[in-house]
Each structure stands twice: as C-alpha cells, then as structure tokens.
C-alpha cells in the first residue's frame, strides 16, 4: 500500500518499517524480550521454592530434587543464567518505571531525554547485575 491510500485518521502503531533504529526503540524491544525471558525465569524460581518445600530425608539432608536444583544453580551455566536473570529484572524494572512515568505524568517524552533514559536503563541493568554478582560472590 502506498502512503496516499491511508485514510484512517486514527494514530498508527509505530513499527519497524517506518522508524529508523534508535535507542528508545531498542529499549522498548528489550522491554518485551526481557519480559518474555522473565516469564520463563519464574518457572525456575517456582521449581526452587517447590523443592525447598519437599520433605527432607530422614537424616535432615535436603530432598533429592533440591540437591538437583542447587547443583544447577552453582554450575557455571546456572551462574550465567542468574546474572542474565538479574540483568533482565533490573532492565525491566528501570524501563518499566519509565513507562509508568510516560503513561501517568507524561514525563520524559523529549527525544533527547528519552534516548538518555534508554541508555541509563541499559547501564543500570549491566552495572547492577555485575554489582549483585560481585556482592554475592565476595561479600
């Protein structure tokens, strides 16, 4: 469809074909990707809580399924997963607060402010996840 055919006066959802890539677009896409990732992350957290509730063995040792989950958490794969999870939580939290400020008091719509805020959210997520990993490992 050529642009002249479009007669619907309602606002059109901005999409990838009509916008050049920019930081705020990236942040919006990352918000959705981290949201989906966190969705599946809750399956693992739920498994951990469920295993924690399983009755201990007669000698007081953890239930079998808890030992399995703990070995996954402490493996290299599990540690990488946890750092990525923390980064996803922090990004979704920071960018989510920004969405609330957009929707409610309409703050931060100026392109420069929006771009700077997008950059901040990425930095916050990466530095925050690194700080959490460091604190958990050494403090």
């Amino acid at each position: 469809m050529s642009s002249g055919d479009w007669t619907d006066p309602r606002p059109m959802s901005p999409h990838l074909q009509v916008w050049k890539p920019h930081l705020t677009m990236a942040a919006s896409i990352t918000q959705r990707i981290t949201g989906v990732a966190l969705y599946f992350g809750t399956f693992l957290i739920t498994a951990w809580v469920f295993a924690l509730a399983m009755p201990a063995k007669a000698d007081g040792a953890p239930a079998e399924c808890y030992t399995v989950i703990e070995s996954i958490i402490s493996s290299v794969f599990g540690q990488i997963l946890l750092v990525l999870w923390a980064a996803a939580v922090l990004f979704h939290l920071a960018n989510g607060i920004r969405h609330l400020l957009w929707d409610g008091p309409h703050l931060g719509f100026e392109p420069k402010t929006a771009s700077a805020w997008s950059a901040f959210n990425y930095i916050f997520a990466i530095v925050g996840a690194a700080a959490i990993w460091f604190a958990a490992a050494y403090i």
Binding site: W48, V49, F50, A53
Partner: protein, 132 residues
C-alpha cells in the same frame, strides 16, 4: 452532535472508532501490578540472593519468617498476574492463527495460575511446618 444523528444507533456512532474490547482495563491492571512490583521486586532480589546462599536450612528459615512468607506470596501474586497480562499481549500481537491463539492464551492463564498456586502452597507449607 447534530440533531439528525440522534436517530443513529450507538453502534453506528461507535463504528470505525476502534476496538471495543478490554484494552483500557488491561492497560490499567498491567500498570497497577507494575506499581506493586516496584516495591516488591527490590526486596525479592535482595532477599532471594541471601536465601539461596544460606543453603537448604537457611533458605527454609528465611521462608518460615512470617513477614518473608507474606511478602513472597504478595510478590508471586503481583508477578504472575503482571506476566500473564504481558504474555497475553505478546500472544495477541504475534499469533494470527485463531485456534493456536486461543490455545496459547488458555495455556498462558493455566501456567500463570498454576505457578502462583505452587509458590503460595510451598511457602505456606514451609512456614506452617517450621516450628513443628
């Protein structure tokens, strides 16, 4: 509104103005649960890291504290509600096949509620059996 429009049915007036589904309600619920999570998620992040590091007994002791148990169930409730709403939008945006779309929307509801009940019952079990 001109007088000749008074004969128009509400349908005629609404036609062409967009979806008459539950968008506004969904939008508000997504944001109210988000506001709850602003307070709950930082607490959860800090606490769960300490709990995981405390090992099996330490983590159980942490869950067995009444305030921790209550906050955990609140966090789970807000989070599973929020993520169910979020995943619903993702499914509606990307899945066009009607049958597949309905199936995934139902699966999304089932998964979110099942996860919440699993967390809530597990937390309550640990709390209630801690002193026994």
């Amino acid at each position: 509104m001109s007088s000749n429009q008074d004969f128009a049915t509400p349908t005629a007036r609404a036609r062409g103005l967009g979806s008459a589904k539950a968008g506004t309600e969904h939008h508000i619920r997504q944001r109210v649960s988000a506001i709850a999570l602003i307070f709950l998620v930082p607490w959860f992040l800090f606490s769960v890291i300490n709990a995981v590091q405390a090992g099996y007994d330490g983590a159980q002791d942490w869950v067995a504290q009444p305030w921790n148990a209550i906050l955990l169930i609140l966090t789970a409730g807000a989070a599973f509600y929020h993520m169910r709403l979020g995943m619903q939008v993702v499914i509606e945006d990307y899945i066009y096949t009607p049958g597949m779309k309905s199936a995934l929307l139902i699966l999304n509801s089932f998964a979110s509620i099942a996860l919440f009940v699993t967390v809530a019952v597990s937390v309550l079990k640990i709390w209630f059996t801690a002193g026994v």
